[in-house]
Amino acid sequence: MNVNPTNAKEDTIVALSTAQGVGAIAVIRLSGPSAISITNKVFKGKDLEKEGSHTLHFGTIRDEGKVIDEVVVSLFVAPHSFTKEDVTEISCHGSPYIVQRLIQVFLKHGARLAKPGEFTQRAFLHGAFDLAQAEAVADLINADTEAAHQAALNQMRGGFSERIQALRQELIHFASMIELELDFGEEDVEFADRGDLKALIEQLLEAINGLVNSFDLGNVIKNGVPTVIAGKPNAGKSTLLNALLNEEKAIVSNIPGTTRDFIEDEVTIGGINFRFIDTAGLRETTDTIEAIGVKRTQEQMQKASLIIYMFDLAEDTIVEVNREINQLENLGIPFLKVANKMDVAQPELKAALEKMEGITYISAGNKENIEGLKEKILEAVNLGNFKTGDTVVTNLRHYDSLLRSRNALNDVLAGLGNNITGDFLAMDIRQALHHLGEITGEITTDDLLTNIFSKFCIGK
């Protein structure tokens, strides 16, 4: 058995340090030599590397220019911290989605996900604890690890992991072939076909990308299905949102274009969390601020898992409705056609719509048929085999390994492109196998030798 020596104190680790779940505020902690520089890379506000220990700094955390959240960063410079290393603590808003996004950003910039109890462990290693305190922590660590193990097993049952496992087996075979030509090149052995290897790596990358994306989707579901309410100005989108929320949240007025940005809120329907996003209306506009709103609406729609398209039975024409439905079909995102203001419908429009299928008639203002719409919303979101109960951290752990596998596999591809020799290819393949092994099980060099000896006739 080989352990990836990631306990090395040179790493910078990151984890959520408050409880999982929704709260007003969550705290994410980074510890290690690069804690401050990594935080500084994504933090917009003061230059943290120039600030002193035990100071607080307000600002925003951004990913590729986009603001994720407004935060307060607490700085602790080594050795004046819990772990005796450089530490930053980021207080952000307590939504699991924001927490997840922030941790992802830190991972992207070089932090590694902390193992259960690792902050405590580091604190202990740096002499911040005595043995009696540490004993109590050790039992905790054990429990955490078993829980993590169980969660990983659940995840392994998904089809994607099976595919990764199968592809990993093939990669082991290839790794053995390469080791074979390295260690037994003098003998009568066949060599690994580089074209086949390249094809395999590409397959693996595709599967890993799929897993990375499914992780994103899984979390989207867990953190709320993003649902956009779209439609022409004054179609009653904000009124519908209020009806769903049962409270006055959006600014409701009958002046078209009142909602210039989106308003989000969460509603649980049938046990599933939906994140409803009320948008500015879709229309040609000369108002600059509103034009920005429309543009952002379109962006939001691209990212949505479901669109509720609303039109106005009292005002719209069949030509407009058909055109907008066409546009929505081109987006390729599931959408519901919702006809609002059924109490004041134009008879000719109603007649024209009767030929069309799948329309839900409501009156948002009178809260009529809102329950019917909720049912349609549930039906529209196909949740497949999604299981609740996976913890966010376990997912992130796998996500971390997947990103690392992907990097190593990309290095293999680059190496193949440069025609590098087997010993260097083997180095990157081993890294990839190691990280894939973190997801599916363990790998040691002994596996490779066993594979060689069972499959090939070697030895003089």
Binding site: N2, A8, G127, N142, T145, D183, A426, K460
Partner: protein, 620 residues
């Protein structure tokens, strides 16, 4: 009749010879005890040294100040650098050797080592006082006192030779087995096992038809193992390659019912990577041929080693089958092939110094630890010799890390993982293969060898000069600027991209398609510089520049491992106290008694969770 020795070495094979030489050269008074002084440093298997991973080990032994490299160089009849088409980590020196010359050179080298005494007799027991070895007993009943004992018994402990249905005691063809030691060690509480290995027949070279075989000559520019100036090869002998065929296989199959391998008489486990010919055709029935490597045994002898045809089938079957190999139609056999079973002691009973955990000052090296191969044995002997010397002088242990040397990988694997089959080194066993190259064994190890007083000052000075020159040449290449219009034509001829702006010439060397010799074609000033450097310096500079990214990546991984290895575990720690550990981990940790957290993490059955718990408990 005998003085008290610092160290008695039992057995004079590759391990015993290196152990005796190293300890004596460091200042210990050594007795080398062997059953037969005429068979010191026998090559019991094929007459060759080095090869993939093994060649690196020989260079490591040499860099530390051991003798195997020098002895091999002095008895070489052919030199080849294997794997030249692969990256520099795979380049592996291998020599064919004159079997008799090799043994003679070792004997003479030992005779010239002032503090080595010899005694020819079977050692039948150990003198133990309070869990500490204090000497040995001989078959004549003599007691020889010593502060430490190194056992390097090879295949001699209760050795049992099989040829077909016949079996007889023996440590090697024509030599008797050693009795008594195994029984005594078991009585002391050691656990033992049986292993098996084998050799092919030897034949008369004059009876072979080489025109039916493929010749494999030595390298045009032969290298050598030693970093010192051992004599250059002036002429070389060729090896030859031929193949078995279905006729050979079906002839062999006629003897399967009389095979000790298949009828269960051989109980020991043999190496999967060095199978007998009957094993090969049995396990890989779909293959219609297997390679036979015909190796000359020396400059003058006509004896030939038929590598690839290791067998314990009855001699009549061996002979009949061999005659069906192309080139062997008229072969005359000198000695039949045979299999040998012998006792070994699972190496998990040792510490990283190769001292046993049960008995103080008692060391094991070589096949007694379940390894196979001259190189594997020699390097263990060297390390046991160094550490026995250190122990008797109360100097800290000398342990090589996995990132220091193949020697470190080998011993770490043995101690932590143990082995069920004869353990042979492969480059794939090393996680830091790119760092453990044959070209830098001196850079890696000579400073360490010098520090312990084994590698000479001359060796250290050579390494320092090498490092200095490589640095100097690297600086020259980094500061020498080349101009597009002066070099782009040549770059075109070399089929590499042209330069867009003025750049240091070192940048060209980072391109995969450009080698250091070609820089001379590109730039005449650089060509002039090169004239003052040896090929070794040019090669070393090229490797360090061209593969810098990969080398750095492995160095970082190695540092991570080191930080765990620097984390010491107190001696005598009781793992049963840790309730949180898995029961398998507790058992293994109590058995292996790792010295560091890093070592604990490499024990099979110890999970990362167990390591976290250990770190919390033990970390300070």
């Amino acid at each position: 009749m005998f003085p008290e020795y610092d160290i008695v070495v039992v057995g004079a094979g590759h391990a015993g010879c290196e152990a005796a030489a190293a300890a004596a050269n460091m200042g210990s008074k050594v007795l080398l005890a062997t059953m037969n002084m005429n068979t010191i440093a026998q090559m019991s298997c094929n007459p060759a040294m080095g090869g993939v991973a093994k060649g690196q080990i020989i260079r490591e032994i040499d860099a530390l100040g051991g003798y195997s490299g020098i002895i091999s160089d002095k008895s070489t009849i052919q030199f080849r650098m294997l794997n030249k088409s692969k990256g520099p980590a795979m380049w592996s020196p291998r020599t064919q050797n004159d079997r008799m010359r090799f043994a003679e050179e070792w004997r003479l080298a030992l005779e010239r080592t002032p503090k080595v005494d010899f005694w020819q007799e079977m050692i039948t027991g150990l003198l133990i006082e309070k869990d500490r070895v204090v000497g040995v007993k001989t078959s004549l009943g003599i007691k020889i006192m010593s502060k430490a004992v190194i056992l390097t018994n090879g295949t001699f402990l209760n050795g049992l030779i099989h040829i077909g249905e016949k079996q007889f005691g023996g440590g090697r063809s024509g030599e008797k087995a050693a009795k008594g030691i195994t029984e005594e060690l078991i009585a002391l509480g050691f656990e033992s096992g049986r292993m098996k290995t084998g050799t092919p027949p030897r034949v008369d070279g004059r009876s072979l038809d080489y025109s039916k075989m493929e010749e494999q000559p030595g390298d045009k520019e032969p290298g050598r193992f030693s970093y010192l100036d051992t004599p250059k090869l002036k002429e070389q002998r060729s090896c030859f390659i031929t193949y078995t065929n279905n006729e050979v296989h079906s002839t062999l199959e006629q003897g399967f019912d009389r095979s000790p391998m298949f009828n269960g008489r051989i109980k020991g486990l043999g190496p999967r990577y060095c199978p007998s010919i009957e094993d090969k055709i049995n396990r890989f029935a779909e293959r219609d041929r297997h390679q036979i490597f015909v190796e000359p045994e020396g400059w003058d002898t006509v004896e030939i080693y038929v590598n690839g045809f290791s067998t314990s089938l009855p001699e009549d079957i061996q002979y009949a089958a061999m005659k069906r190999i192309p080139g062997f139609e008229k072969a005359k056999m000198f000695r039949p092939g045979y299999a040998i079973e012998y006792d070994y002691f699972p190496p998990t009973q040792l510490q990283l110094t190769l001292e046993t955990k049960l008995i103080d000052n008692l060391y094991f090296a070589g096949q007694i630890n379940g390894t196979t191969g001259y190189e594997e044995a020699a390097c263990q002997g060297l390390m046991a010799g160094i550490n026995a010397h250190h122990k008797t002088r109360e100097i800290d242990p000398f342990v090589l890390k996995r990132s220091d040397a193949y020697i470190g990988v080998l011993i770490d694997d043995l101690i932590n993982k143990g082995t069920d089959e004869p353990y042979r080194m492969f480059t794939s066993r090393a996680e830091f293969r790119i760092l453990l190259r044959q070209d830098n064994a001196d850079i890696r190890l000579t400073p360490l060898g010098h520090e312990i007083g084994l590698a000479s000052t001359e060796r250290l000075q050579r390494v320092e000069a090498k490092n200095h020159k490589v640095k100097e040449l690297t600086h020259t290449l980094a500061t020498r600027k080349i101009i597009p219009k002066e070099v782009n034509e040549v770059l075109g001829h070399l089929q590499t991209a042209s330069l867009k702006e003025k750049a240091p010439i070192i940048n060209l060397l980072k391109r995969p398609e450009i080698n250091i010799q070609q820089l001379a074609e590109v730039d005449s000033v650089t060509q002039k510089h090169f004239e003052t450097y040896s090929k070794e310096i040019l090669d070393q500079t090229e490797i360090q520049i061209k593969y810098a990214n990969y080398i750095d990546k492995e160095k970082q991984l190695a540092q991570k491992m080191e930080s765990l290895d620097s984390f010491k575990i107190k001696k005598g720690f009781d793992y049963d106290e840790l309730k949180a550990l898995s029961s398998e981990a507790k058992e293994k940790l109590n058995q292996i008694k790792p010295q560091t957290i890093g070592q604990a993490s490499r024990i099979s059955g110890v999970s990362p969770a167990d390591i976290s718990i250990l770190m919390v408990y033990l970390g300070k």
